[in-house]
Symmetry: C2
Subunit: 410 residues, 2 copies
């Protein structure tokens, strides 16, 4: 790819991704590589080996984050880092996480090819267990790094078989000694969008402004069970009719704010769930997300008010339990600008975008200037074996990453 | 109860019901007496013994229906029959079924007390397995009697443990030889309403015009699964939002016909049913009932049209599977009139009503002039341990039953 930046080798990047994707390859061509399994070890070993081959030193910290460092001219400077994660969902794709790590490796290789020595060291990090698909939490390595989750508590997390995270780290040989917390001059993470916006707009680069805040609730609607044949419509207090009205109203509500939040009713449980019994109870989840904390708060008030109104109309009982409240993340403006500028210099179309999902970068942002680079993925599909991305877009993302990191590393 | 009819002993009726309710009594004071269990045998034995004590001959037919006959003056006349069932739901009440059988017994006892000999014989029948809670069908004894279900097929029905109905009949000593089909001059069944209408109207007797027809469907809504955080609202094809809109519209539809049908969405299954995934599929049931076949047909067309319209709007796939189509039952007009007249003569308020549930009488109606008498039950609650009815109402129902039967039996 001819560009004013350093020359990213898109084919090499693609080959690295495809070689990595063989580890835990699923029948449908996706990846199943749960954190701290033998497959994760294999992926870590491959990554660490490639980094050493590229002249990096590789260290592992106490939460198992793998840090490959390319030295800079000035060892006193904090490193400019990039990375993501090598673990996947049970039936995940080839690019979620893997792309950010391999893009970082490609930056190192491209710097080597170009014979460039940066002032600050460059680091490529594989954060431990981003997906949260095995232990009861996600973004574990980056959260410990950022001081958001205590190390000892993270090491004590157990999987469904009762295996402890710390033991599993030791078992696969990735329990290091170094304290996870270290200063970073900046952190940039490249990632597939996991949504359809860039593809729809035919824009290959998203300069990520931050991540949406999220508020999740479980709503229990209580009506009165009754015989589907004998209880007249006028006498019913049907919990599912109430829940259905709420779900429809929640969906409409999502279109009444600008920019649109997302509101999802993903989990529904009807009781007794029998064809000829009027539902006495319905439990459903609400997942609401928006980049603006004030709007999230207004949404919550509006949702509660609306749900209570519908319940009152039908004579239903309501209990609303808060499951998750997480604040929006706003990335460092200079890092966001560095991404925009890198794309601009390279002549690659770029748009601002918010992340709908959580990422390691959202944790790192708490302690270091952070930005993210999104590239399109096919149909917006992720967490799915069908996850796909175009080699050309991946190369463009790596080129922007390299340029942004170089601008910071001097 | 002073009345121009024969003197029903309301206290005796209540005592019979309460004695019977001890067989299979549940912790919460309901009844659990599944068909053809040892408890059912015990109830049958008690009933048969009481009938013999009251001067009846007791026979059992090949499907296990227990027939107690009080002879008439003219043995050539077909009997005027009444009855219901002694089996119950697993956690059922003391009156569903039991009341119709005990009311019939009380009619026989009252006729004895009054020294009345009827022209036609009087029969009280305990139909085998009305509830359908054990074998894969309900109203088995009455359906075989009416030629709606072949005897051999009924005997071959199996329960969840693989036990065959015919074997269970033999095991409890209730496999008779007589062919179930016989002519009846008329059949009247007394039953609790299992709905709230009579209680609400403070009317103790319902002259049942017939039973609603029922059409049940399973609807499969297919959308596109997606990430609850990253897929913008405008890009979603959320199967549950579609299903919720359909459920709300179905509920509204039920109010647009006169008289109101009942439409129930009782069973709902969301896939993958995960809080942070936009539902890709939703399967739900529709149970629709109305006494008028033409309206049932129009409702079905309207429902399909409405569901398809909503699916089209959102871009969802739809499959509608028909589960049950059962036509409305219209009871014999002279039998309905006999109930009204009996109530009128006795000075007991009476209103016309439709049955929302199925009953043995709905099967018998296919081969004999049939009517039903409903009495109120507390809160309309049935198929529940809390099922309750007032002794006074039960006595009034028995008095109307006696008068209607007498009018027919001469």
């Amino acid at each position: 790819m001819p560009s004013p930046g350093i020359a990213i080798d898109g084919e090499r990047l693609w080959r690295s991704l495809m070689t990595l994707a063989e580890i835990g390859r699923t029948q449908k061509g996706g990846v199943g590589r749960l954190a701290l399994t033998d497959l994760d070890r294999e992926a870590r070993d491959l990554f660490a080996g490639w980094c050493r081959d590229a002249g990096c030193t590789v260290t592992v910290d106490a939460i198992g984050n793998v840090i490959a460092r390319r030295p800079g001219r000035d060892p006193s400077r904090a490193p400019v880092a990039t990375g993501s994660h090598l673990d996947s969902q049970p039936l995940g794709g080839r690019f979620d996480g893997a792309y950010g790590v391999m893009a970082g490796l490609e930056v190192v290789r491209a710097l080597n090819d170009a014979g460039i020595e940066t002032a600050a060291p460059i680091e490529v990090i594989d954060w431990t267990d981003e997906e949260g698909a095995r232990f009861a939490a996600g973004c574990i390595g980056s959260a410990v790094f950022a001081g958001i989750r205590p190390l000892e508590q993270a090491l004590a997390l157990t999987d469904a078989d009762g295996k402890m995270l710390g033991d599993e780290l030791r078992r696969i040989g990735y329990a290091g000694n170094a304290a996870p917390a270290r200063p970073l001059a900046a952190y940039f993470e490249a990632h597939i969008e996991q949504g359809p916006i860039l593809e729809k707009n035919a824009v290959p680069i998203g300069a990520v402004l931050g991540a949406q805040g999220q508020r999740c609730f479980m709503v229990t609607v209580t009506g009165v069970e009754g015989h589907a044949g004998t209880l007249p419509m006028t006498e019913r207090r049907d919990a599912f009719v109430g829940a259905a009205k709420m779900a429809v109203a929640l969906n409409e509500l999502a279109f009444s704010y600008q920019p649109n939040p997302v509101i999802t009713v993903g989990h529904v449980r009807v009781g007794p769930n029998s064809r000829n019994t009027i539902p006495g109870t319905t439990v459903f989840s609400i997942d609401s997300r928006h980049p603006d904390e004030a709007i999230l708060q207004r949404m919550q008030s509006d949702m509660v008010c609306m749900i209570e109104g519908i319940a009152d109309d039908i004579g239903l009982g309501i209990a609303i339990e808060t499951v998750t409240i997480s604040a929006p993340v706003h990335f460092d403006l200079s890092c966001v600008e560095a991404v925009r500028e890198a794309a601009g210099t390279l002549g690659i179309p770029c748009q601002d975008i918010y992340s709908g999902a959580g990422h390691d970068a959202c944790k790192v942002a708490a302690v270091a200037p952070t930005g993210m680079i999104f590239v399109p993925c096919e149909g917006g599909i992720s967490h799915n074996e069908a996850e796909n991305a175009r080699p050309d877009d991946l190369a463009k993302g790596a080129a922007v990453l390299a340029a942004a990191m170089l601008a910071r590393a001097g």
